[in-house]
Symmetry: C2
Subunit: 284 residues, 2 copies
Amino acid sequence: MNIAIIGLGVIGGSFALALKEAGYREVYGVDRDPETLQTALRRGMVLGAETEAARILPHADLTILALYPGAVLPFLQENAKHFRPGSLVTDATGVKTRLASGLAGILPADVDFVLGHPMAGREKRGIDFASAEVFRGANYILTPLPSNSEEHLRTLEALVRELGFAGVRRVSPQFHDEIIAFTSQLPHAMAVALINSDREGRDTGRFIGDSYRDLTRIAKINSALWSELFLENRENLLGAIDGFCRELEKIRSAIAAGDREALVRLFDTSRARREALEASRAQK
Amino acid sequence: MNIAIIGLGVIGGSFALALKEAGYREVYGVDRDPETLQTALRRGMVLGAETEAARILPHADLTILALYPGAVLPFLQENAKHFRPGSLVTDATGVKTRLASGLAGILPADVDFVLGHPMAGREKRGIDFASAEVFRGANYILTPLPSNSEEHLRTLEALVRELGFAGVRRVSPQFHDEIIAFTSQLPHAMAVALINSDREGRDTGRFIGDSYRDLTRIAKINSALWSELFLENRENLLGAIDGFCRELEKIRSAIAAGDREALVRLFDTSRARREALEASRAQK
């Protein structure tokens, strides 16, 4: 299988490394940055590298778009005529609804775009931080469109399992965006707000345990990427933030009222939910 | 040095294991649960074990109270006359101001209580989850009182470094409680509110990445302990929650207004702060 990766940042680069580890040889990379392409070639991550997608796309059986959310549709518009007829195209974008509705009519009917979301990433950017490791055991979400062929869906599911992903699920773009607002974007908003609410001059690092470390790890956020993701998924994220704030307000009220029993009830709920989460993952 | 540990739960048990690894032999445990004492003896965590503190305290050069916050003062009141004259007593309580002010006049003048807080713990309870590992590289905070002897403070600092703690700091009980509300209690409140705001029936575990896993780990909270800690530190914790909510509201407003530049600024701030946190720890 001839595979093209468009964008060799941390995610595209990780795809290249994971494909290599899984034994795929004919992997080609496209990036607008010539230095990135040099790195990819030098590290043997790709067999060929080009700044012009038009040189790679006509030969690709599978094209993986590892671009920023706002760059996907413009890329498709610009390169629609270069995709190989009968080929499979997928992406790695973290928000789906707008992309799914914007796709209509851009690609030829014989090019099949299957929307996908690898739930893995790193706080660092660029090919130097690419790693096949981050995919191992992670979740992968597909949001099929009516136009997608079942064969292509299965091909992609099988491939990402080969790359190390463990939980592969199909859901609608709408459900994807709703749950991702909760499981991914809300935690990032919380981490940013937590560390931003620290008072300066306290030498806070001397007074932290694992909890603060864990909760603020993702505060080292890629501003360009995540501001796009947040705004692309505005309504769902506002809903997730509001739901979270209602629960935090319950805790706040119980503290203010000195209501120990209410706190214990809230904690008992969270403990049971976290245990259920661990049990559901253990089954996987 | 003859050492008594009062309470062989997960923290007291971890002290016993860490002391053993550091070569301390004369370590004795007190717990109201005979089964816990049997476990401690069977695993060689202590040289002797008693349900009655009165049998252990008179021989102890150092007594470590690993009790729930609300149990510390009652224990001291009940056992004041049993402590060895000239001995050092410390604790592992996560909130200090109220304890510090409540201590006055309870212990004989020749028994020196140095308030301490190991910033390490586990989500699980009881001696079976004790581990010397959790102390390694963790922070330890001392909140000295005017009555404490410098010699005792140094003895305790040297000892906890031997047990694996890396960052040992002295601050006032008031500062401790203020910063702990932010670095420890607020993250726990956030984790509880996050998982409690999930909607049921979504099979959420299939759609999570590391961020949700990291942020909810501490939602598996010990309800009895943490409801005590929250209420003991009520004013500081309410302040920390409110400061956090103000920052979250900034993010929310920027999303609602579609203000990408505002989001980028907030993310740039959080990234810089997290990087500074990592740099300050790397220096340690």
